[in-house]
Amino acid sequence: MSTSSSPQAILVLLRRDLTLAFRHRSEMFTPLFFFILVTALFPMSIGAEQSLLQSIGPGVIWVAALLAALLSLESLLRSDYEDGSLEQMLLTPQPLSLLVLGKVLAHWLRTGLPLVLLAPLVGFQYYLAGDTLVTMMLALLLGTPVLSLLGAIGAALTLGVRGGGMLLSLLILPLYIPILVYGAGAVAASATQTLPAQPFLLLLGAFLILAMVLTPVATAAALRISLG
């Protein structure tokens, strides 16, 4: 790996992480089942009235996506930290922030992307119409990578810390608020047809670009702090 260029290093890392994920398939499905289960709890607890579900649907789906992303963050760095391969990555000549970007991309491909593909199923449970489902998938497609990118900072900061999981949610959930507001806003705008959904999606896209540029640097700095 020492002689390869940075794009090659990212590709190697991607292939490795995806192979690892594929070998532990049950780990991959847990956040997805969590997502479906949480969204299914709401109709059971507050009643299955169609207009009510339609109005709370966008918010509930996004909150559940946030929690599922948070739950899956543990798997982003934990095993690499425990077996020492994270320290090896710190020692490679490639820029750490690029390697981080590769790892986050792999993480999103195995947790975020399945969630995006599965979201229409949840949308049906909340009686969302066809157009709204498309908007929801677009919003999730733009928003969930930001959740992984931002969450990586928290995961790197809490590496090996006692009670890290609960701590992570306290650190990261407040930072997820803009994504939640505009993500749910896009779906709600499309569902009620009162507003165009495009401005929301554009903002989510802007957040994605910002996060792709800035968060890997912060995550790399956090990794250097955590691994001394």
Binding site: I153, L171, L175, P178, Y182, G185, F200, S226, G228
Partner: protein, 246 residues
């Protein structure tokens, strides 16, 4: 005079100790003046809110301090990361609880104000909501700091978190203020400082000064405790408390 001398905890500890009483007295005096002025010497302008509006003299300065102290915290965190000075991280750690306290006061008085003017304790008002999020960000900072046992790592990790928070706070603030991205310009036109009477403004500024002095006093006391705790194995601390090897 070389100010950098005081970047060393050994030098800063006695200096902070000498300054605490002055700040404490200034805080007490200006609180008395500010509250008297605000409570008894200002007109009752918002008549439908009766006298309740006077909570503004605590609410607004506390809200300002809660935001300002976060900037101070981040400033110390950045200095610490750049110059690797122990005292900077200690200052950042000492600022956080006071910032969280002012956030709590702003929330509490905001809730009281909400009850008297809107008839409900909590109204998801954008400003109150942002203040709640700020409280969680302070809480996250302090939680991360106390969860990591190695103070070297804890300082740097929480400093990085504070900086990330500073980047995210404007986005959070705008997203709460403008949940609909096509129309949020109207909201800020309402709260303009020029509409407030000078007398009320003066009392409010006195309270801001009082809270500022209080913050100095409390943060210096707290940073002295942190210095003692962190440097407990050094010779100057054992000489100070009169025991152990000198």
């Amino acid at each position: 005079m070389n100010w950098f001398r005081y970047a060393s905890p050994v030098e800063f500890y006695p200096l902070a100790g000498r300054m605490v009483p002055w700040f404490a007295v200034a805080a007490a005096l200006s609180t008395v003046v500010g509250l008297y002025w605000g409570f008894f010497q200002t007109p009752d302008i918002l008549s439908q809110q009766k006298e309740y509006y006077r909570i503004i003299f605590v609410h607004v300065p506390a809200a300002w301090m809660s935001m300002w102290l976060y900037l101070v915290l981040v400033g110390w965190a950045v200095l610490g990361l750049i110059y690797n000075t122990r005292l900077s991280f200690m200052m950042a750690a000492a600022v956080a609880p006071t910032g969280a306290l002012f956030t709590g006061i702003a929330l509490l008085t905001g809730v009281l104000w909400g009850k008297t003017s809107w008839g409900t304790w909590w109204d998801w008002d954008p400003r109150l909501t942002s203040e709640l999020i700020l409280f969680f960000i302070y809480a996250g900072y302090m939680a991360l700091q106390s969860a990591i046992e190695d103070s070297y790592r804890a300082d740097r990790a929480s400093a990085l978190l504070a900086i990330v928070g500073l980047f995210c706070i404007p986005l959070i603030y705008w997203s709460i203020n403008c949940p609909d991205p096509t129309q949020c310009a109207a909201l800020h036109a309402r709260s303009s400082m020029s509409a407030i009477e000078t007398n009320i403004l003066a009392a409010m500024w006195t309270m801001v000064f009082a809270f500022w002095m209080y913050s100095f006093a409390v943060i210096f006391v707290r940073v002295r405790n942190i210095i003692l705790e962190r440097e407990r194995n050094s010779t100057w601390v054992s000489r100070l408390i009169g025991g152990g090897p000198s």
